[in-house]
C-alpha cells in the first residue's frame, strides 16, 4: 500500500500515543477549516430548535462533551495526572492551560465577581469561535460563545466543580465589537468545600 511505511497501525485506538512528537503542523488545522465546521454546527442546530434559549442550550451541550474530553487529555498529558482540588487552581487551569491548548493563547483576564461570592468571569476580547460570526439584530443577546461556555462547564464538572456557565457580550467603549465574558457561577457545595479547606 502506498505510504504505509512509516505509519504504525495500532490495533486499539487506546494504544496510540497522545502526542505526535515534534511535527508541529500535524497538530494543527487551518483556522478556516475550524470556522467552517463551527458554522455548520450552529446552522444545523438552528434547524433543530424554535427559540434562542434552546439553541444556546444545544451549543452548550456540544461544548460540554468537548470540555469533558479536554480535561482528561490535559490532565494526563500536561499536568502529569495531578488533580486540582482548589477553586483558584481549577480556574487558573481553565484560564491558562485549557485556553492555551484550545485557542493558542491564555484568556485575556480572569476576575472575581463583585456582587456575588460564587461568580467568576473569564473575558476574551474576541473569542475564536465568534471571529467569523455576526449575530443578526433579531436574535438579541444570543452568543455562539455558548459553545465555549459548554467547554468550560465540561471541564469544571469533570474536575468536581459543578457550575453554571454562560457567555455574554459586554460592549466596550471605543471598540466596535463587544468583549465576550464567560460567567461562571459555582454551585453551593463547591463554596462550602472551599470554605472548609481554608
Amino acid at each position: 500500500m502506498i505510504g504505509v511505511g512509516k505509519i504504525k497501525q495500532y490495533s486499539n485506538v487506546l494504544d496510540k500515543p497522545l502526542s505526535r512528537g515534534k511535527q508541529e503542523f500535524c497538530l494543527q488545522v487551518s483556522l478556516s477549516a475550524f470556522a467552517f465546521l463551527f458554522s455548520e454546527l450552529v446552522q444545523y442546530n438552528q434547524t433543530q430548535v424554535d427559540n434562542i434559549a434552546e439553541l444556546e442550550r444545544r451549543l452548550e451541550d456540544a461544548g460540554y462533551a468537548v470540555g469533558a474530553r479536554v480535561l482528561e487529555l490535559l490532565c494526563h498529558r500536561d499536568k502529569g495526572n495531578r488533580r486540582e482540588t482548589r477553586l483558584l487552581g481549577i480556574l487558573s487551569f481553565v484560564h491558562s492551560t485549557v485556553w492555551k491548548v484550545l485557542f493558542g493563547k491564555v484568556a485575556d483576564s480572569l476576575e472575581k465577581g463583585t456582587e456575588h461570592e460564587d461568580e467568576y468571569m473569564i473575558s476574551e476580547k474576541e473569542l475564536l469561535v465568534n471571529r467569523f460570526i455576526s449575530i443578526p439584530k433579531d436574535m438579541g443577546t444570543f452568543n455562539c460563545g455558548a459553545f465555549v461556555a459548554g467547554i468550560v462547564r465540561g471541564v469544571l464538572d469533570g474536575a468536581g466543580f459543578p457550575a453554571v456557565v454562560t457567555a455574554h457580550f459586554v460592549p466596550m467603549e471605543g471598540q466596535q465589537r463587544p468583549r465576550t465574558t464567560i460567567l461562571i457561577k459555582f454551585a453551593e457545595e463547591v463554596l462550602r468545600r472551599e470554605a472548609r479547606f481554608s
Partner: protein, 176 residues
C-alpha cells in the same frame, strides 16, 4: 504582469492562521454525536447521515472553494487527473494540514481514490458496535462535492472509512 505562480500546499498552510487540531477533532465529534442523538434509528441514521453530512459538507464546500482559489493561485486544471492531484496535495494540506495520495485510477481515468492516512477528523475515534456501518468522515465527501460543483465539475464522490482510520474518498466523474 505575469500571474503569480501557484503556491504549493505546504507554503499556503504555513501562511494561513491555524488552530489546534484537537479542538477541530472534538468539535467534529460533537457534531456527529448530535446527529446520532437526533436521529434515533440506526438505519435511519446511516441513510440520513449520508444525506445530512453531504448537505452540511456541501455547504462548507461551496464556500471553501473561494478561499482555496484565492489563497493558492492554482490555475485551471486541464483534466480530471490534475484536479484529483490538486485536491489531494494542495486542498487537503491547506485546510487539514495533511496530504492525501491519489490511487486506484480506473481504466478510462474517470474515477480514483484519495487516501488519507492521517486524518484529523478521526483522531482517537472508535465506532461502537451499534454504529459500525457509519461513514464517520462523510462530511469530507460533501465538502469535495460542493467545491467541485462550484468549480463547474459534477463529481459523484463516495466515501469509505477503514478500521484503522485511513479514509478513502472515491471520486468519479462523468466521462466527457
Amino acid at each position: 504582469m505575469a500571474p503569480p505562480a501557484p503556491r504549493t500546499g505546504d507554503a499556503v498552510f504555513a501562511n494561513v492562521e491555524r488552530v489546534n487540531a484537537e479542538l477541530f477533532t472534538l468539535t467534529y465529534g460533537a457534531i456527529v454525536r448530535q446527529l446520532l442523538t437526533d436521529l434515533e434509528e440506526v438505519e435511519e441514521v446511516n441513510k440520513q447521515l449520508d444525506q445530512i453530512s453531504i448537505f452540511r459538507g456541501y455547504n462548507i464546500g461551496i464556500r471553501l472553494i473561494d478561499e482555496f482559489l484565492t489563497k493558492s493561485n492554482i490555475s485551471r486544471c486541464v483534466d480530471f487527473k490534475e484536479t484529483a492531484e490538486v485536491i489531494a496535495k494542495a486542498g487537503f494540506k491547506m485546510f487539514l494540514g495533511v496530504t492525501a495520495s491519489v490511487t486506484n485510477w480506473d481504466a478510462d481515468g474517470t474515477s480514483c481514490s484519495l487516501v488519507l492516512e492521517d486524518n484529523p477528523l478521526v483522531d482517537f475515534v472508535e465506532l461502537p458496535d451499534t454504529c459500525q456501518g457509519l461513514y464517520y468522515c462523510n462530511i469530507l465527501s460533501g465538502v469535495i462535492r460542493g467545491a467541485l460543483e462550484m468549480a463547474c465539475i459534477s463529481p459523484e464522490p463516495n466515501f469509505w472509512c477503514t478500521h484503522q482510520g485511513m479514509c478513502l474518498v472515491r471520486l468519479a466523474t462523468h466521462p466527457r
